[in-house]
Amino acid sequence: MSILDVEGLSKSYRQAGGESTLAIENISFQVNEGEFVSLVGPSGCGKTTLLMCMAGLIAPSAGRVVVKAAEVDGPPRNLVLVFQEYNKSLFAWRTVLGNVLFGLEVKGKPAREAEEKASYLIGLVGLDGFERHYPWELSGGMQQRVAIARALAYEPEVLLMDEPFGSVDAMTRLELEDGLLRLWKELGTTILFVTHDIEEAIYLSDRIYVLGRRPSRVIQAVEVRLGRPRNQLTTRADASFMELRNEIYKQTAPRLSSGW
């Protein structure tokens, strides 16, 4: 059953000269309940604009976003967006525990229950023992785990993630990918994951929507039929992984096959 529907979404911006440019044009796709879906596209193709519309943070110029049969016209209660810039998104004045408690406080959960929930999630993202630390005392990968735990503590039905692993080093990135898949399996939250890394998208997802250059549209929908649980070594070496990778590369960067 579809939980997230994007229907004919367009967004144009007015530029300094008064002209308006189209960032995204007529984008439509859907995500089913419990799925892990990725959006891939080249840098600057309007992925962030699309996510902001979906999270109800900016209004689209045309089209609509429907979450659980309700049209989005402001931040929906059952959806949270995780940002790439964890260092700007975390509350520097709150400890790890304080950050994770944030969404629960907003919801008005009783303190005791909230603390239990927060501790559970801090454990799930592997940060036990760091509850009293401040974000700046942690590495980048750990900070993003705090941001993910904070988002999940809010108990969203849909989690939107905007290139969440884009600012961490390659090794940490692989660990975070596996950690995210474990969380997803444990909690069953529907995840829409935005990245420009095609292999990351294949590794994580059930389905991938490939976006073209600005103004971006969905140019391809790819079903990923790789088994789970996935493995950074064997899954990425799988023949069908390679096949998918090549297929998407051909779509997004046709020059790759022909050289300069």
């Binding site: 700007k88 998104s89 509350f91 004045w93 709150r94 406080e105 700046w136």
Partner: protein, 258 residues
Amino acid sequence: MTWSRESKLNGFLVLLSVMAAWELVSRTEMLNPLFFPPMSKILRSFFSLVFSGEILAQILSSMRRAAAGYLLAALVCIPLGIIMGLFNSVYRALEVVIETARPLPPPVVVPVAMLFFGLGDGMKVFVIFFSCLWPILLNTMDGVRNIDRVLIHTARTFGLSQGRAILKVILPAASPQIMTGLRISLAITLILVVISEMVGSSDGIGYFILDSQRRLKVDQMYAGMLSLALLGYLLNQLFLLFSNTFLSWHRGMLRSDK
């Protein structure tokens, strides 16, 4: 900045040397001891004023006015600064007025305040209020304007209403800079309470210093200045204690950036 125990000790030694030199200059009459009494006499005067309770009474009158003007300024300017920081239209509407009024040296409003409030406490509170406005207002506004968009979006994606976002996200995020404004205004408060008490008052530490000078009780005048210096030092230390406790996260963050 950290002071080693040694450099603090050196600081005290320098202070003692200055006091000894003062004593010498006065005793040898290099400066007229009538205007420049020996340090020992000033200290004797200071302690007798402290023990008689007179200094404390004067300081309390001054502090009451200072606190009223300072807190009033904080109460008005922090909310106004937040609104100006959040809404560009409010900022633009007020910008010209603020930029015109701000360069006025605060003592200039003393005569105006005297017209409206006479020589009573109202005049002093108003003068202090007026001079404390700008640092608090402008720092709060800047602090709010400099908050990263991502942080605002984060508050919104968690479903916070604007009012709750101000309390739970905007105020704490801007608090280091608000604290800077409050600290600058604290120093200004001390200057203005003294000035306004010298212009027209029958009590307070500013009055006490001027009155001692007029009655040629010069040692008392210096004793009053000494107590004012100590008061300033104490207030600053109290403020640092408060802000270090309140902003410990921020100090740690700044240290970790280096």
